[in-house]
Symmetry: C2
Amino acid sequence: MTSRIVDETLGATVFFKCENFQRMGAFKFRGAFNALSKLAPDARARGVVAFSSGNHAQAVALAARMLGVDATIVMPDDAPASKLAATRGYGGRVVTYDRYRENREEIAEGLAAERGSTVVPPYDHPDIIAGQGTAAGELFEQTGPLDSLFVCLGGGGLLSGSALAAKALSPDCAVYGVEPETGNDGQQSLRQGSIVRIPVPETIADGAQTQALGRYTFEIIRRDVADVLTASDDELIDCMRFFATRMKIVVEPTGCLGFAAVRALGPRLAGQRVGVIVSGGNIDGDRMASLLLSRSAPGLLD
Amino acid sequence: MTSRIVDETLGATVFFKCENFQRMGAFKFRGAFNALSKLAPDARARGVVAFSSGNHAQAVALAARMLGVDATIVMPDDAPASKLAATRGYGGRVVTYDRYRENREEIAEGLAAERGSTVVPPYDHPDIIAGQGTAAGELFEQTGPLDSLFVCLGGGGLLSGSALAAKALSPDCAVYGVEPETGNDGQQSLRQGSIVRIPVPETIADGAQTQALGRYTFEIIRRDVADVLTASDDELIDCMRFFATRMKIVVEPTGCLGFAAVRALGPRLAGQRVGVIVSGGNIDGDRMASLLLSRSAPGLLD
């Protein structure tokens, strides 16, 4: 999608890749489907287990149903109600845990061991990264080369996949990751040159509450990403409002990260051809309403 | 747009024509641009005047700017703030009036007389009707013939234009108008066989608060529309929530009328190929939030 008001305000040409319109409402479907479709028949028969704060859960559940694979999903007990319901709706068995006290990886490994199931990690796997990268790949195929690309950053699956896609299809494009201000482990890791682990960050961007980059994603990000920027929760709400009132689309807080950085850079992007990955649109109606009402209406792109 | 959940729930194939993504956020741009583009050069030089509860105002202001015509817009003083601001933003001069006490037609005629401007009516004009009909025309061109088409009904410009488009492109399609329950003047007019005028209806569907059909629109609707149905404000809110949370699009209350009727008919549409005109998406963020919070979440299509 494009927006005249965005282009006029920034003096740039901005292309939004709208993964809120993707199957199950977020880019995560791409990685999950790619990973599951590569399982050997005997592995498929033993099912899959996934741990996720939300969209990866639905993605694995849906991909599993489409491929005839049993799926068990480990989800935080405070995940948005719509995400818990949707995961169950796609046929996934949901096991909940306390996000601030329990270790989801351990729970998932334990469940997988019971019947030899395959754990489908949310981001740190080559097949996941490759799948997520197809979003940016499609964007470049439609727009041609871009000057910069802004991608939300949680565990780094989407960002590292996007960086690989850019390298192949738009090699001069500067790829930026954008994290919640309170969860800037990626930014810290890039500065320090090694993976920094942080406590679970408190942010409305529930898809970016990861504590650390992965082994694969960090290496790709370190090599191929220009920089990692951050956005505050308030900035995300302002972007959500802009998307709703001007572009008529619903974007979840995590999905606003890329555009929040673009909005903050403002005139520094003048003259550029800019890509923004809008990562997803899964948010409860009540939650969206509460967030919108929590901030008075800002100027259009203030 | 299409929605798997809608099709699965209804057992039908539903096509949404999303005029919330139209220029200025609603179908009204079509009629206004068509009408203004047909003005002779001397009429263009004397400017245009329009009266509107919202979207027609923005439509005339934008079309006028694009065609280099001066535009004065008579708007109710309780119109949504976003619509007042957008109309001014498109370069229109705004004159407000009290919707419950003053006559907007008289105000507009008075302003037009001052400099010989042309009044661009919101619906009852052949050029407006023809312009609005291009939305359904494009839908049929994309989908082929449909069994039924659901269109919101205020003054009848969109509905009569849609009926004409159906007649030409999908002659067996049953075209339905959908009004707010509290503002069913169109339904009453159809039953009675003559235009019924009602007091300004109180409904959240601010684009359908018209008091009576027009001379042209009534004749076309009487001849070519299968029936006029109604929807309650609560049903509109439920549809708005569905559009936001499942289809990730923002639709204003008036734009929900067509789908509200489809949802109410439910299984009676099984097996059909159904069209729905989503007429617009112009709603304040705060207002959308308040409406969403005013109703607890319903079932998906309950």
